[in-house]
Amino acid sequence: MSQNIHQPPKSSAKEPSGLRAGLVRITALLERPAWRITFTIIGITFLAVVPLLNLQSYYMGVLCRILMYTILAGSLNVINGYSGQFNIGHAGFYAIGAYASALLSLKLGVSFWLALPLAGLLAMLVGLVVALPTLRLRGIYLAIVTLGASEIIRLIILNWMSLTGGPNGLRGIPAPVLFGIKFSRSQQYYYIFLVLSLIFFFISKRVINSRIGRAWISIREDETAARSLGVEAMRYKALNFMYGAFWAGIAGGAFSPYFKFISSDMFTLDEGFNILSMVIIGGQGTLAGPIVGAIIVNFLTEFLRPISQYRMVVYALLIIAMMWLRPQGLVGASRSVLAERNIGLRRRRKPTAPAATAVKGDS
């Protein structure tokens, strides 16, 4: 009707230059199906042959941790980045998963391959229990509840001596066995983490690009509008929380037989913040963000080992710098309310099309 008044903006309004141009070209290339499949195959093959390089077990250990944290950060990102809920107690669900799989195999002799999904399901149930009373809470209030829940879980684990061994933790968690192969060293365990991580990202990508993912994103962008369109916000927020908790449980369930020893001080709030920092640094609301974040934070942890506790200061500075300079994270979902959510240091909003100036005055 009014095309005569308003022309659609041209997509190639501004030619980017330099590094940005390169990145744009590469992403454009990656968007072509043929290239995407090729790159995925090359990438997976590369990841699959890494353990054959006979790296020192220290390096394999770092790689295993990175892979595990991609699941943890990725699942937290599904909550914080895609539905806009704010969970900072992800370590709680991680702990539930770790203890569930450890206890199942130690006390009941359940095979790892059965204990792992059970660990995920238990974490998911706990996620539901945490989510139900908090569905009406937003932002900082929800954050406080998740923080509390995470501490409660840790304290229960610490004090339930007869079940969890209290401060002594659980030791001697048996390594998983598949077709006679025992996954006891990090060279072998690497494959468990790799496969789980691939499954996680495959499933999450599909869920996020489906009706469910669209509902989550609509809640993040504008909950009132989403509800007016028939999106059952409470239900989808709870589902979202359960989905994130499930995968944190899976990561935990895979972690305990890998490390063979777990204790409650591995699942403190610091751990929750650690996972959160990966999501924030990498970029909320993008699939690749948590991967980048997990790699950067884990390498930093290794580089900063000499200064031990003081590395937390470096993380804090890094997060402040990120919030200031690039609130949407390195990979960056700049096309979202997430990009606006900086801590009030600076409002950056670039007009992306001439028409944008006309809209400024209202809303």
């Binding site: 009014s2 659609p8 989403a226 509800r227």
Partner: protein, 260 residues
């Protein structure tokens, strides 16, 4: 005559403020129903009660003879009432197409399993959404802006995206909260024509509006609120002649050649 939406004795108090006081309303199927009144008359509050955002202090809302009082907005949307907002509430960082796709939420059903395995239902539903979204875009004349970010559109077009998104629900009743606010006369005319066309296609429409010319030329039936109370109801001609309405809009005194 079948009434599609009925309000019976609706009251809404915010503390001591009587935002809406004993308002009755009956909307006939196929009508364009206008709700007008000065600023602060309680129009939007009343509207939000119909859409489930607020629960009324007293009174009942019936939709197709079914009591929907106190149902949450998402349940009301599912029954077939779609709405737009006074301050445009688009998903600003999504493209126009993505905005409209959310509107198909209640018309599709696929869950986790379908999404993960891309089974037949998922593929059928996504194809259905793509085709229907294209149709809706064509209908409101936004096909050219399919991939534009909603926040980058000019005001008038953003309003249309909101209407398109509501149409995606395939509603039986369309609630429009000040659809022409901030539009120039040309855009207003266009939107008026568009609303009349939707009405001819069978949509029953409720419009809150300030723009008298728009209301008088578009609506079949008008309800006038002032200070939360109904002061007049009837067809445009009746409302135009009504003394209380003129008083509410122009104040007391020697209005219209000493009618008082």
């Amino acid at each position: 005559m079948a009434y599609i939406l009925e309000a019976k004795g609706i009251c809404k108090y915010f503390g001591g403020l009587k935002a809406v006081e004993k308002v009755d309303m009956r909307i006939e199927e196929g009508h364009i129903f206008g709700i007008i009144g000065p600023n602060g008359a309680g129009k939007t509050t009343f509207f939000n009660i119909c859409a489930g955002v607020y629960r009324p202090t007293a009174g009942r809302i019936l939709f197709q003879e079914k009591d929907i009082t106190g149902l949450p907005p998402e349940a009301i949307a599912r029954l077939g009432i779609a709405r737009t907002f006074q301050n445009i509430q688009l998903f600003r960082y999504m493209t126009v197409l993505e905005n409209i796709k959310i509107g198909f939420h209640i018309r599709t059903r696929s869950g986790f399993i379908s999404a993960i395995f891309h089974d037949r239902r998922y593929r059928d539903e996504e194809a259905f959404i793509d085709a229907e979204a294209a149709r809706v875009l064509e209908k409101v004349g936004l096909a050219a802006f399919r991939d534009t970010l909603a926040s980058n559109l000019p005001y008038g077009l953003q309003r249309k995206v909101e209407i398109a998104r509501a149409l995606a629900l395939k509603p039986k009743l369309l609630l429009l909260d000040e659809p022409v606010a901030g539009m120039n006369p040309l855009e207003t005319r266009e939107l008026s024509d568009f609303i009349l066309r939707l009405n001819r296609e069978g949509y029953t429409i409720v419009v809150i509006e300030h723009d008298m010319k728009f209301v008088m030329s578009t609506c079949d039936h008008i309800l006038v609120l002032n200070f939360g109370q109904k002061i007049c109801e009837g067809d445009p001609a009746t409302v135009r002649r009504d003394h209380a309405v003129n008083e509410a809009y122009f104040g007391k005194g020697l209005v219209m050649g000493g009618l008082s």
